[in-house]
Subunit: 296 residues, 2 copies
DNA sequence: GAACATGATTTCATATTTGGAATTAATGAT
DNA sequence: ATCATTAATTCCAAATATGAAATCATGTTC
C-alpha cells in the first residue's frame, strides 16, 4: 500500500496521472489502476477525475499533506543507502584449503590484500570440508565439485595430480615400470583420493586403480612431507609439489601417467546475495586463474 | 519496493520470517519471496538465513537503522489519517429537482441539516438535468432512471402522477367521463411527460395517450399554478399536488386512472468513492423514504 | 462545428505474484 | 542417535496485476 501512496504523492506533484506516469516510467493504465486501488483501500476519493483538469478532493489534500514529507524522506534514504551499501570496506570471511592457500595460491591472497586494503580478509584455512553455512563464510575456494544444492559454484581451473617419490626411495626400492608394479611399493594416500583414475594421454589409455595404502593421512601437506622423507609414492596435486620437483627434492614416477585433475571452484551459498566484497574476490580469483595460472 | 522495506522492518522487529508472517497475516512463502525480492533489488543480502537462528548482515543492520524510524512514522500517519478522513465535517454538494425539494421533500432537507449540523449542505436545485460531472456535485436526487453508464443510481421510491383540475374549470367545461373525453379539454403538459401511460388498477387496464397539449411548460411548479388558475387539466406528481387536493384547491379527474410512476433515485458518479458525508445523505434519504414517505 | 491533441479509463491477453502444500534444514528434547 | 517441532524455502495451480491498444472525455485550434 505504501508504494501506492508514493505514487499518489508523485501524481499530485506532477499535477496529473499522465505526467506522473511519464516520470515514473509506468503505463498510464497502471497509474490509474493503482490510484483506484489506493482510493478503494482507504475508502475515499483522493483526486477529482476530469480529463485535462486536475484537482484534489478535501481528503486528497489531507492525505497529500500527511504523506508528502514522509515519501520524500524515504526516497532520500533510498538514494543514500544505495551508495553506502556498495562501499567495499568491511570484513570478508573466506574458506579455503590450507595446502594450496599456503602454497600455490599464497601470492593470490597477498595480491588481493594489497589491491583491496580496506577489505578485512578473514581467511579460514582448513583441510576438512567445513560447512559454509555453519562457519558463516561469505565465499569459499574448494577442490572438487560440491554436491550440495545449497551451494553455487564456479569453476576456476584445474590442478594436475602426479605420482611422486624421492630419488632415494626409488634407488632403494626400484622404479616401477607400469601401474601394476605400483602394488609392490609403499603407497601413501590422502582421504580425498581413495581411488586413482589414471590416464595416459599419449597412449589414450585410462585405468582405475584401487591402491592398498600403507599410510593414509587427511592432510596433503603431511603426505608430502612423508614422501620427502623417502617413505613411499603418492599421488599429489602439482600445486603442492611443483616447486619440490623443480628443486629435485621429488621426482615424477611413471611420468606418462597422470592422476585425476582436481578442479578448483569458487563456492558460495545459494539464495545468498554476495556482498560487494565477496563479488570482488570472486572476480579477482577468476582473473588470477585466467591470467597468472596456467593449470590445464 | 517500499512495501517490501516495511515488511523487512517487521521481520527484524519480530526476529524471524515466521513470526513476522503471523503478525502481518501473510503466508510464510510470501514473506520469504518478498524479502528475496527486496534483497535482489538492492543487490545485498540483508538477513542470514538459518532455521531457528536469526541474524542481520552488516548491510541488513544498516538498512534497518535507516528505515525503521520512517516505517514507524508511516504507520502512525496511516492510523491517524484513517480517523481523520472519516470525520463528517465539511461541505456536501447535492443536485435535486426544485419542485419536489421545495415541496414534498423540504422536511427531509430540514431534517438532514438538523441531524448533521457539521455538514455544510450545498443544495443546487434545478428543473433541468444538469450534469453531475460539470456541476461538481457529490450526489444527486433524480427523477427517472439515468441512462448514463457514468452514473450509479439507487431507487428510493416512486411518485404517483394523477390527473387534476380545479372544480371551477370542471364546472364550466364539464367533467370528462373517460380518457377519450380528455381530448375535448385543454391539456397542460410538462416536457418530462409528453406521453401519458395511464393505468386503471381496478379494471386492470392500460392505455397510452398522446395528448395534444394546449400549453407546454418545462416547469412543474408553473404547470401547477396554471391548473390552479382554471386553465386546464394536467398530469402531475402527487408530491406536487397532494396538499392542494387536501385543501380542495384542486380535484382529481378520472380518479380510477393514474399516470406513470415517477421513480426517485439517488445518483452519483461511477468510479467515484462517496465521501463519508455523501454516504451519510444517501443512507438518510433511503431511510427517510422507507419510514416517512409512503409513495407506492 | 469539426478536427486534433492530450488526459484518463477500460478491455483483454499475458505476465507475475500469491498462497497452500510439500519439502528441506536446524534445533531441542529424549 | 533419534524424533518432534519449528523455521525457511520451493513447487505449482490459481489469483491478481500489468501494459498495449482501444475507447472515452475535454480543451484548443482552425
Amino acid at each position: 500500500m505504501f508504494d501506492d501512496i508514493v505514487l499518489f504523492v508523485h501524481i499530485v506533484q506532477k499535477q496529473g496521472l499522465a505526467s506522473a506516469a511519464k516520470k515514473l516510467d509506468l503505463p498510464a493504465a497502471t497509474v490509474t489502476r493503482r490510484l483506484q486501488r489506493l482510493e478503494t483501500s482507504i475508502g475515499h476519493q483522493l483526486i477529482h477525475r476530469s480529463a485535462r483538469q486536475f484537482g484534489l478532493t478535501q481528503e486528497g489534500e489531507s492525505f497529500y499533506q500527511s504523506y508528502a514529507g514522509l515519501v520524500e524522506q524515504f526516497e532520500q534514504t533510498r538514494q543514500q543507502l544505495s551508495g553506502e551499501l556498495n562501499i567495499l570496506a568491511g570484513s570478508l570471511k573466506v574458506l579455503a584449503p590450507t595446502n594450496i592457500s599456503t602454497g600455490l595460491l599464497q601470492p593470490m591472497w597477498s595480491g588481493f590484500i594489497k589491491t583491496y586494503p580496506d577489505i578485512k580478509l578473514e581467511l579460514m584455512l582448513s583441510n576438512s570440508v567445513d560447512s559454509m553455512l555453519s562457519s558463516g563464510a561469505d565465499i569459499a575456494l574448494r577442490i572438487g565439485p560440491q554436491e550440495s544444492s545449497m551451494l553455487y559454484q564456479k569453476r576456476l581451473g584445474s590442478l594436475q595430480t602426479v605420482l611422486v617419490a624421492t630419488s632415494e626411495y626409488l634407488a632403494i626400492q626400484g622404479e616401477p615400470k607400469s601401474l601394476e608394479e605400483l602394488e609392490l611399493h609403499r603407497l601413501i594416500g590422502t582421504n580425498t583420493l581413495l581411488s586413482w583414475s589414471m590416464s595416459n594421454v599419449m597412449a589414450s589409455k585410462k585405468q582405475e586403480l584401487r591402491p592398498r595404502f600403507s599410510t593414509l593421512v587427511n592432510d596433503v601437506n603431511m603426505v608430502t612431507q612423508l614422501v620427502c622423507d623417502d617413505l613411499g609414492i603418492s599421488l599429489l596435486p602439482m600445486s603442492e609439489v611443483s616447486h619440490l620437483i623443480k628443486s629435485r627434492v621429488l621426482v615424477r614416477v611413471l611420468q606418462a601417467w597422470q592422476g585425476p585433475n582436481r578442479d578448483l571452484y569458487t563456492v558460495w551459498p545459494s539464495g545468498k546475495l554476495l556482498s560487494a566484497r565477496a563479488k570482488c574476490l570472486k572476480v579477482y580469483m577468476q582473473e588470477y586463474f585466467e591470467n597468472t595460472m596456467i593449470l590445464d
